[in-house]
């Protein structure tokens, strides 16, 4: 067939994706391979950080899947009271940036938190301090179990109730059916969320730098940050690129594992019958109370700690009426560092949302609404950055920055944002479009529309609401982002995330808490509004 406008659009999209994803990743691999400093990986610091990264990633993956599956089963398949409210609250850590969560949890379980101080007064030593490796793993679990819960819940909803009812009619008890039918059918979802969470946590920066560093618990991401900030090694870029390639390889291994495991998936019929709920009977009040306690401890408690910290002048000051003031708010809001960071973040976030929205809309529709052999490849490359640690993307852009004249400019951060967050829009656009049969466009063709016209009138119009909410999600994620901006920021410049991080590092804990609280509240309100407007 002839080449037409639709083919031109496809070519342009390939060029954009090549520039955003392929070029940076190839650059980092080329630099690492050229300098060949892989021997370094077995040296003391790097080896220790690598082991810490892998152990904390695997442990937090396991914990997140267990916790997420337990919540999913309790909230989907039992007659627990207040399931809808519990589900919303349990998912809320997803909306709080991990480094904000870390600052909040220091208020709950830091060495001088009210709990630990009371315990020390009574028994001589603190109950449990969040600083150190165990704290890092705990916080990683708290911030990633909602992802596992979402994936397992979705899988659970796809399991037809008939399958459980067939087990019941064959003589299985309610719990027996759960154990012999439901749980085995959930295994692929659990494995897949384990891989996703583990790879995602492999190079988290905020949590280990805030609660790991004080106890000298170093991971690959905090090590990379140290190398880039202070010239403790020769040619830091090549060392950092080597670490990045290792993380990239681990992420690809995770993807391969997920694909191989995912191949053994069952074809399930759509279920029309409402799910039968497991009656908890006399255990219901007890199970209900316990679930509410655990969920609130994981989500509401740190927010309360954040509130109390922002009302108090310094950590360890008791929460009494005469100590409470709004001084932190006025100080934070009038600080030039904060206003500059907020302005920068806002600009970068809006631009990232805009670019991701347009490019993501185009890629999401072209790959789902046309028949072409390169669709799968185009969508895979666009989605790939989601599967690799943000740290790798930051280092990759750092490697090519001098060659494209973006070194020490905010545009470098924008590029990294777009690379990282494009997948959010592509996914939110592609998912709803897949369920609409391709004849929608063919009906337009038969009605006299060219391929490009059908793409525009039917596909893009259909996808516009999803692209809009995807773009808002990108902007809200970018405005509170830390890992990419902390590594790519030019000296003397600020973003919101970096401003909070620097306040925390400089010991201004209460100011950091105040700003964290503001960012969290504004973010939650924004997400709520975005969710409502697209519904």
């Amino acid at each position: 067939m002839r080449r037409d406008g639709a083919d031109a659009v496809r070519l342009v999209l390939w060029l954009i994706i090549a520039a955003l994803v392929l070029v940076p990743l190839v650059a980092i691999v080329v630099l690492a391979a050229g300098d060949n400093r892989f021997g370094l990986l077995l040296e003391g610091d790097v080896l220790e950080a690598g082991i810490n990264s892998i152990v904390s990633a695997l442990a937090s993956g396991l914990g997140a899947v267990l916790l997420g599956t337990a919540f999913a089963l309790l909230l989907e398949r039992t007659d627990l009271r207040g399931r809808r409210a519990l589900r919303l609250i349990a998912l809320s850590p997803l909306l709080v940036p991990p480094f904000v969560g870390a600052i909040a949890w220091i208020g709950v379980a830091g060495p001088v938190s009210p709990v630990n101080r009371a315990w020390s007064d009574a028994f001589g030593s603190p109950l449990w301090s969040i600083y150190g490796g165990d704290g890092v793993i705990f916080l990683l679990i708290v911030h990633s179990y909602p992802i596992a819960m979402l994936i397992v819940t979705a899988a659970l909803r796809r399991i037809p109730t008939d399958l459980e009812q067939a087990a019941r009619i064959s003589g299985a008890s309610a719990t027996g059916a759960l154990a012999t039918v439901t749980l085995p059918l959930l295994r692929p979802a659990m494995l897949s969320s384990f891989v996703l969470v583990s790879v995602g946590n492999l190079a988290d920066f905020g949590i280990p730098s805030i609660v790991g560093t004080p106890e000298q618990y170093v991971t690959l991401s905090t090590l990379v940050y140290r190398y880039i900030q202070s010239g403790t090694v020769d040619d830091p870029l090549s060392v950092v690129a080597t670490v990045g390639v290792v993380l990239l390889v681990l992420a690809i291994l995770g993807l391969v594992a997920d694909t191989v495991l995912g191949r053994r998936r069952w074809e399930l019929d759509a279920s029309t019958t409402p799910p039968a709920r497991l009656r908890l009977g006399r255990a219901r009040p007890l199970v209900g109370t316990l679930t509410w306690l655990v969920v609130s401890a994981l989500t509401v408690l740190p927010l309360l700690a954040l509130v109390s910290q922002s009302l108090l002048p310094a950590p360890g000051v008791p929460l009494t009426a005469e100590n409470v003031s709004l001084d932190n708010f006025s100080r934070v809001l009038s600080s030039p560092i904060v206003t500059e960071g907020a302005a920068n973040s806002l600009m970068l976030a809006v631009l990232a949302g805009l670019i991701c929205g347009i490019v993501g809309l185009a890629i999401g529709t072209v790959t789902t609404r046309t028949r072409a052999r390169d669709n799968a490849a185009l969508s895979a490359v666009a989605l790939f950055p989601q599967a690799i640690p943000g740290l790798v993307i930051a280092v990759a852009w750092l490697v090519i920055a001098p060659h494209i004249g973006l070194f020490n400019t905010p545009w470098l951060i924008l590029c990294a944002y777009v690379t990282s967050f494009l997948a959010l829009v592509v996914q939110s656009v592609a998912a709803p479009l897949r369920s609409i049969p391709l004849v929608a466009e063919e009906a337009a063709r038969i009605s006299g529309a060219t391929r490009l016209r059908a793409l525009f009138d039917i596909s893009w119009r259909l996808a516009l609401p999803a692209a809009l909410s995807g773009a808002v999600l990108v902007a809200l994620t970018a405005v509170r982002e830390l890992t990419l901006s902390v590594l790519l920021l030019s000296p003397g410049s600020q973003t919101l995330g970096v401003a909070i991080f620097n306040l925390q590092q400089a010991g201004a804990y209460n100011a950091a808490s105040t700003l964290s609280l503001l960012v969290t509240v504004v973010g939650l309100v924004g997400l709520g509004l975005a969710g409502r407007s697209t519904r």
Binding site: M1, R2, I436, P437, V439, A440, E442, A443, A444, R445, I446, S447, G448, A449, T450, R451, R453, A454, D457, I458, R461, L462
Partner: protein
């Protein structure tokens, strides 16, 4: 004047699979032609080739006098001026009913006043008067299919293509739409190509039916021709559930290989001799009182004496559907007068058998010629 002319059409998919082979078909102006066949027979491929969503490997597609595919020409779907209704209706969810229906007119740059007027007239015609501002999500499946039909017809296409257009609907509704579709297309004098896997629907609606198998046309004919004079044993089996048996034809009659089927020469129709296949239509099998012959022993007394066991017996309005085990052969019968019970022993009498040359060798070449009318 012919509306659609397909000549020596071949289509091979990039994977190497053959989609269409040697298709010659002429659809007259105002004619309603149904394409039937099992899944994978090529009926949808043929329709999509006419629509312009597939490009033939060789051969030509003509709409009226205009070559739209072949001879180095390929006119894309949007420039062929066709109407099409899809199985999953394909009503766009982000436009209201009127916007859906007027879309082809917008593409053809028809002015606003005329658009509104034609959309209203068309909605009236499909029984959706007053539905113009409705959101498709609020419509039932049948109403959405009417919207799709209105959209396909509004620009007065040269040919209406129906791709399993009624198959997604439930039974009583499908029946009603079938009736409406016929009166609508006849009163507008439309040329229609209708793809369906429902044999009865094809026979009921069409002027002529095209039977496809393996990408080839097996037979073209009017519904009565196809039912009473199938061109091959395969067509008889597909369209009428005929029982097909291989055997030998001699001067005295037909004798099956391995089964107790003997049909005297007088009851055979068809010219083939030697190694042949016969197709026995269910309507040509009568159930009579069981003969004395023991199970599995071929009786020599001719039809009427052999006894068979009833495997299943389903009630039907126009005759009971009875499946018999006749000495190992599964034979189908449709009989109105008596409904046997499962397990009952009955006698079998064959009134007529259609003789065809043995399958494989002669059938494909013999088939397309039979019944073809231009």
């Amino acid at each position: 004047m012919a509306s659609v002319t397909l000549s020596s059409l071949h289509l091979q998919y990039p994977s190497g699979a053959v989609g269409l082979e040697d298709i010659d078909l002429t659809v007259g102006h105002g004619e309603f032609v149904a394409l039937v066949g099992a899944s994978g027979s090529g009926k949808t491929t043929l329709l999509r080739t006419v629509a312009g969503f597939l490009s033939p490997t060789s051969g030509t597609v003509r709409l009226g006098d205009r070559v739209v595919a072949g001879d180095g020409v390929f006119v894309p779907a949007e420039s062929r001026h066709l109407g099409m209704v899809f199985q999953q209706h394909a009503v766009w969810p982000h436009m209201n009913v009127a916007r859906n229906v007027e879309y082809p007119l917008r593409r053809a740059r028809v002015g606003r006043a005329e658009r509104t007027e034609r959309v209203e007239r068309m909605l009236e015609l499909v029984g959706l008067g007053g539905y113009a501002k409705r959101d498709p999500a609020t419509l039932s499946g049948g109403q959405r299919q009417r919207v799709a039909l209105a959209r396909a017809l509004v620009a007065e296409p040269s040919v209406l293509l129906l791709d399993e257009a009624l198959s997604a609907l439930d039974e009583p509704l499908r029946d009603r739409l079938r009736l409406e579709l016929q009166s609508l297309t006849r009163s507008l004098g439309l040329t229609v190509l209708h793809v369906t896997h429902d044999r009865d629907e094809a026979l009921a609606l069409a002027d002529r039916v095209v039977v496809l198998d393996g990408g080839r046309i097996q037979q073209i004919g009017t519904p009565p021709e196809l039912v009473s004079e199938p061109a091959s044993a395969a067509v008889a089996r597909f369209l009428s559930d005929a029982t097909v048996v291989a055997g030998t034809r001699t001067a005295t009659g037909f004798r099956a290989d391995g089964f107790p089927v003997d049909v005297p020469a007088a009851l055979l129709s068809g010219a083939a001799t030697g190694d042949v296949e016969v197709a026995i239509l269910p309507e040509d099998v009568d159930l009579v009182a069981p003969g004395p012959a023991a199970d599995g022993v071929a009786a020599s007394a001719g039809p009427g004496a052999e006894s068979a066991v009833v495997v299943s017996s389903l009630y039907g309005r126009s005759g009971n559907d009875v499946i018999l085990d006749w000495g190992g052969l599964t034979l189908r019968s449709r009989t109105a007068d008596h409904r046997p019970v499962v397990g009952e022993r009955v006698g079998v009498s064959i009134r007529r058998a259609l003789v065809f040359p043995s399958a494989g060798a002669a059938v494909p070449s013999a088939a397309p010629a039979a019944g073809a009318r231009v």
